[in-house]
């Protein structure tokens, strides 16, 4: 009975949503700020990847908020799960262990690459951070008894987040608005360009990596470990 009612409501909702979206202009967006950003970004920010210019420049505060949300989720996760829980489980087989050992440096490099080229190519701190987290999580699959050092993770978390804020505050101390990009833009498309954006992305990458790694570690801990 409840399911039928739910289905009816869902049918109604999809119909209404389709009616509403059907009236929208697809593929021809007004782009009021999009156009402006496209024109201004190369000179104002200097990042070849305009999405990065938006993420770290025009909407830098959103990114800080986003980092904070991840941090909040990790903190809340820690609060919910507690942190002193044991891990057990059989170590992985030879292939898994060797594969992990081989993959680990590669993923590390790949992650860092994605992070550092965020202002030039698709990718960036978030994407790279996830790869980094995966890189650190892989060994846990292979050797469940060895735990990642939470202390280090939380130090990286804290410092990376603070670094992001510090870069923003630096602009404030110079008398400009919070999160104003610092330094010279450099040459469009060069690795060292677009001012402080790569630094910001590095902070983002580290923070996301540490955050996700600690979340994954907590989630993968044993049920029997606590209460």
């Amino acid at each position: 009975m409840r399911n039928i009612a739910t289905l009816l409501l869902l049918g109604g909702l999809s119909f209404l949503l389709l009616v509403i979206t059907g009236g929208l202009l697809f593929g021809n967006p007004p782009m009021l700020i999009g156009q402006g950003i496209q024109q201004a970004a190369p000179t104002e920010v200097g990042a070849a990847n305009i999405v990065t210019a938006v993420v770290l420049g025009y909407r830098g505060l959103d990114t800080l908020g986003e980092l904070s949300i991840l941090f909040a989720a990790a903190t809340a996760g820690g609060l919910v799960l507690g942190s002193t829980r044991g891990r057990s489980g059989r170590p992985g087989g030879f292939i898994l262990r060797t594969g992990v050992d081989l993959l680990f440096p590669l993923m590390l490099v790949a992650g860092l690459y994605v992070v550092m080229h965020g202002h030039l190519t698709p990718g960036g701190g978030f994407q790279g951070g996830v790869i980094l987290a995966a890189a650190f999580f892989l060994p846990l699959l292979a050797r469940p008894q060895e735990s990642l050092d939470h202390t280090w993770l939380s130090v990286i978390e804290a410092l990376a987040g603070s670094a992001f804020i510090a870069l923003g505050l630096a602009a404030l101390f110079e008398g400009r608005a919070f999160l104003t990009p610092l330094f010279d833009h450099g040459v469009l498309g060069a690795l060292v360009s677009s001012g402080s954006l790569p630094l910001l992305y590095l902070a983002v990458g580290l923070k996301v990596g540490a955050e996700l790694a600690s979340l994954l570690v907590r989630l993968s801990a044993d049920d029997e470990g606590a209460s």
Partner: protein, 625 residues
Amino acid sequence: MIGALDMLLLAALAAIPLSALFATTRSGRWLLVAAYAVQFGLLIMLQPATAAHSALSFQLLGNAVGWQMDALGWYFAVITIGSAGFAAAYAAGEWSEVNGRLGLSLRWLYAGLQINVLAMLLLLASGDFVSLFIGWELTSWAGLILMLLAGGDAIRASLRYIVYAIAGGMTVFAGLVITQAAVGSLQFDALHAAAPSLGTGRLWAIALLFILGFSVKMASMPFHLWQAPAYAYSPAPGSSFLGSISARMGLFGIALVAIKLIGLAQLDRLSLVTDLVDLRGLLTWVAVFTAILPTFVAMRQNDARLLLGWHGVGQGGYMLLGVIIADRLGSAGGLLHVFNHATYQAILLMAVFAVIHRTGTADLNRLGGLVTRMPLTFLAMLIGIIGLAGLPPMNGFVSKWMIYRALIVDGHPLLFVATVISTLGTVLSVYKLLHNTFLGQLRLEHEQIHEAPWSMTVPMLLLCVVVFVTGAAPGLVLQYVAAAQQAIGLEPVRYILGGIESPTGSLDMLWITAILFAGFGIGAVLFYLIGGRSRRVHQLDNYAGGHFLTADVRYQYSDNFYAGLMHRIRPWYRGSFEWTESALVSALGAASTLARGFFEQANPAQWVLVGTTVIMTWVMWYALG
């Protein structure tokens, strides 16, 4: 700068902490009685002829808020402070000591009494709708303090009271904001000036909301259920104070807003479709039914306090009736009845509480024969019930006579008959009260009862003097009633010291009293001349069927009083109002369960879907429509 009104209000305010401080010692309590005397003196010094303004005034949220007291407020204020003073004196002596030992908080009692007085003074001295509402709400909540003190049944009664009171207060609140929307101001003058030009719809809304709200406090039908238990279960001084004056604040409100501000001419514009029924006609019938039904409910009560409480409700109907008729004689009668009722109701409640003080019960089936043990209390109650029943020469007769007279003169024979029926019920039931308490067989367990202490009897007897004197010389009070009538824009009654002077029929109580006493005197003289002798016998010196009866034989049963009459009218007591009330509460409970069910759904996300879909449908429908 500080006017007489400010002095009065300040004195009332200052007396609150004093009450809390001094209420625990006997001398301290007498000091507090003196404080009431001071307040009364300050009030008398206030010249009510022209409205006395308070120096206190604010500009609050764009409204000028101030206080002023005209003759109407002054008249009610006299009764208020007087009742409080007598109540405080009644409890100052032994009563407080005994009840304090039993765990009653005397500090709260006396402070609560004083808070009530202050709240009522603020209400009576309101100068605009904001101060009116402030006073109104404070009065409602202050009453709660006195009601809650007794604990037990009183708590349930006061919970019921507060729901009614908040409902009434919120109705007044609605009237207030609608007045503001219609008139653009919360000043009394603004409504008075704008009332003639208001459309009938708005006028209906304003008049009805205010009158309904004030009626709840008056316990007019159909809001009458709360009052008797709420007032009756309060401790003695609280009960006598609340019973005397508290409910009359509603009458004050109606007189002020409906009669003075909206005006009779405007009220008469308010008629239902066919002009057959208009608001005032409706209200007169409400008033009459309020006079009749609670009186007959009172007749059935076996708790003396509740019996009196129900009478209080019924007498409110008389006052409303007089004020709504609003001619020279009727409105004077209604207003005079406020004073008269306050005096005799205070006596009756004090007498009942004196009996409770000595015997520990107010159950009319467990009392009887106390006349020899508590003669002064008996005397007080006798005078009180003569007043309540509206018989000469006590003051209740005068006000009721004026109301009857007005009904006849104005041509309301049906209403007149109805009020007579009510009076009949009153006479019957007050006799039950007197009989079951003081007459008949004394109970064994009450053998050793003594008269109530002087601290309790003296206030009662003083009030008896007031009842008698204002009964014999109603002109003493009528001069203030006439001033109050003028203050609300009615024609003042033409009074003489002994009563009323009018072309259609005058009343001179001095003559009536003189004739009455002359009659008694002649009778007594004749009796003794003929040689009649009276002999004093012991109360237990009885025999029946040739047998002497000992004290332990019950030969007189006071329950099932008026068996024949009650048998006749039993079908009328159907409890429809109680039923309606509990049905409303049950409906509220059902709605509440529904609402709870809404919040305790297994899957909370359901409501996101339902809400979104319904709202989207509304949006699309809105777009199409």
